[in-house]
């Protein structure tokens, strides 16, 4: 498929269908964007497994860190790549190897060769997007910050499981 843009339905279905994310390049530094994204996705009920060889065996946000995707001792659905575009290729090979369903490359990360490999192996691919921003955009939460979500709807937003301000996603297919 063409990866210059994605339909909202494509992104929404991925975020509704899959709940286990391995975050390659997760950082224990609380000022890093990967830390922000991991904390947000945990709060939305995703299981997020940090992958960072420099911190293997330690924890980030109370989650055990693994050195490589191959070391993870449970099934992984989404591999979220917080590394540069070049490294995305070997990481994608690992993602295919462990049976992941989606390869997701962060904002600014794009590798079309990796995308073609993943798609040939039956995986879905998202590039140059952040799952935190996409979740916030499609749920309407990011609109609290005056961000142009691109979403028009005459339906009520879906409230999250707790609190008055948190919102959730629902598939179009229900």
């Amino acid at each position: 498929m063409i990866h210059d843009s994605y339909t909202d339905a494509y992104i929404r279905d991925i975020l509704v269908q899959y709940r286990v994310i391995a975050m390659v390049g997760a950082s224990p530094n609380a000022s890093r964007p990967s830390y922000f994204a991991m904390k947000y996705l945990l709060a939305k009920g995703f299981q997020v497994i940090p992958v960072n060889p420099g911190h293997a065996g330690k924890t980030i946000l109370d989650q055990k860190v693994f050195a490589t995707l191959g070391d993870i001792d449970q099934p992984v659905e989404i591999v979220d790549i917080f590394r540069n575009s070049e490294v995305a290729l070997p990481v994608t090979r690992d993602a295919i190897e462990i049976g992941a369903k989606v390869v997701w490359m962060q904002l600014g990360v794009r590798n079309d060769e990796a995308a073609a490999l993943a798609e040939a192996a039956g995986l879905k691919v998202v590039m140059n997007r952040c799952p935190k921003i996409e979740y916030g955009r499609l749920s309407g939460e990011i609109s609290w910050a005056g961000v142009n979500s691109g979403v028009l709807s005459s339906k009520r937003p879906i409230l999250g499981a707790k609190g008055g301000q948190q919102r959730a996603l629902r598939s179009d297919k229900v």
């Binding site: 339909t7 909202d8 339905a9 609380a30 000022s31 964007p33 922000f36 904390k39 947000y40 709060a43 904002l107 952040c130 921003i133 916030g136 309407g140 939460e141 990011i142 609109s143 609290w144 910050a145 005056g146 961000v147 142009n148 979500s149 691109g150 979403v151 028009l152 709807s153 005459s154 339906k155 009520r156 937003p157 879906i158 409230l159 707790k162 609190g163 008055g164 301000q165 948190q166 919102r167 179009d172």
Partner: protein, 428 residues
């Protein structure tokens, strides 16, 4: 699939940002008239203060009614995000507070709203920010004013009160050469007539008080982030690319990507300087925006007819409306705002200063006041009011000489507007 349609401008003007209220189902955006918002728990509170999640804390920084207005404006301008504030002047103060440090310079067109000339030249000087004036009709004059201290370029898309259409693309080229953001005040055009992002603007500011609100009932301002400037690549804008001391060392441009400027304006400028918009004003302006496309076209159509009538009047020396074929800015108007050249323009009276005073005294339908962009037709004599504080030289350069009268054409029957000018001119 329906959701993948790209909605048109009229649809965005009504729907962008405004889903039904999730708690009550209210279809019109409610007025959230509250100072503060309860936290779900201590973790949620901490995450909000750390900017780790999206949500509301305190109406000085954000409010759900204001947020709908912001998303609507961002959508209409084709930007990534927006921030609504107490006034157009507050928007400008926050933009420059975010971009500049003491000792920095910026270049501004000298053909600006008189209040902006005061703000840039007087108030900003106290912050150590130096404005260098250039000629909005001459992109080379901006190029000549660039120095190593230049941090931004500022123009009005349609200059107030002179009726000049700015060649935004030509000045954007200068900004790109200098690697500084181009800020465009799009108040007189509104995104209905012109979208500066399509011509190279990086930041757009508005006085919402004018055509966007449109009914003369609320003061408001806005900043739109076009998402086009590479703050991390530049490294010259510390508020965006340096570790933020008030947010645990995060770099806003790294964390928030292509809407980081709007976030920086909110969580630094608005948080610390404080000019928040009231939820009620945000509501009134939102309601106004729903009819912006209809109103703006009628404003322009009426203005064209009034300008055409004035040209033929024997007491009128000249009419500066870019919608007229003979106007020197008509070519730029055709290129930048083909649906209309706005509804604010000036004309000169052969009788000079005294005739100007006489005309504003004689009108019966026009209101003599210092605003533009109302449903009502408005008139003012800039030399004795809005531009009174400027030197003679600045007045002339701003298009506000002694014989000049400025009109903001409203939505009344155009025959009634012309009849009022006819009777008022007869007596000067």
């Amino acid at each position: 699939m329906y959701e993948e349609r790209k909605p048109g401008f009229n649809t965005l003007a009504i729907h962008a940002g405004a889903q039904p209220d999730p708690a009550t189902g209210a279809r019109v955006t409610p007025i959230y008239q509250t100072t503060s918002f309860v936290f779900d728990d201590v973790d949620h509170a901490a995450a909000l203060f750390n900017l780790e999640t999206f949500g509301n804390i305190y109406t000085r920084i954000m409010n759900p009614t204001q947020a709908v207005l912001e998303e609507r404006l961002a959508a209409l301008e084709g930007g990534t995000a927006a921030l609504a504030v107490a006034s157009g002047h507050a928007a400008q103060a926050i933009v420059f507070h975010t971009l500049l440090e003491p000792g920095d310079e910026f270049i501004a067109a000298r053909q600006l709203y008189g209040g902006s000339i005061n703000q840039f030249g007087q108030a900003f000087a106290k912050c150590g920010w130096t404005v260098k004036w250039a000629d909005t009709t001459d992109a080379e004059s901006f190029r000549a004013a660039v120095t190593p201290k230049t941090k931004a370029i500022f123009v009005e898309s349609i200059a107030n009160p002179g009726g000049i259409i700015t060649d935004i693309a030509a000045i954007s080229a200068v900004a790109k050469e200098a690697s500084v953001p181009l800020i465009v005040d799009n108040t007189l055009a509104t995104p209905y007539l012109m979208r500066p992002v399509e011509h190279g603007a990086d930041i757009i500011v508005h006085s919402l008080t004018k055509f966007l609100g449109g009914h003369g009932n609320s003061i408001g301002g806005a900043i739109v982030d076009c998402g086009t400037f590479d703050w991390m690549g530049s490294g010259r804008y510390a508020s965006l690319s340096s570790p933020s001391p008030s947010y645990h060392g995060i770099r806003l441009a790294e964390t928030f990507g292509n809407f980081a400027f709007a976030i920086a304006c909110r969580v630094l400028g608005l948080r610390d300087l404080g000019p928040a918009i009231s939820p009620f004003n945000a509501f009134l302006i939102l309601t106004g925006i729903e009819t912006l496309p209809l109103r703006m076209q009628r404003h322009c159509d009426n203005a064209f007819q009034v300008a055409t009538w004035l040209v033929a009047h024997d007491k009128v020396a000249w009419v500066n409306y870019a919608g007229l074929v003979e106007n020197p800015y008509h070519r730029l108007a055709k290129r930048y705002c083909p649906d209309g050249a706005g509804a604010v323009f000036t004309f000169g009276l052969k009788g000079g200063y005294d005739a100007g005073i006489g005309l504003v005294s004689n009108v019966k339908l026009f209101s003599h006041l210092a605003n533009i962009g109302d449903t009502r037709s408005l008139i003012i004599h800039p030399a004795s009011t809005t531009h009174r504080q400027l030197s003679d030289e600045h007045r002339e350069r701003a298009g506000a000489g002694p014989e000049v009268v400025r009109l903001s054409i409203g939505l009344e029957n155009v025959d009634d507007i012309i009849a009022d000018l006819d009777q008022a001119l007869a007596a000067v």
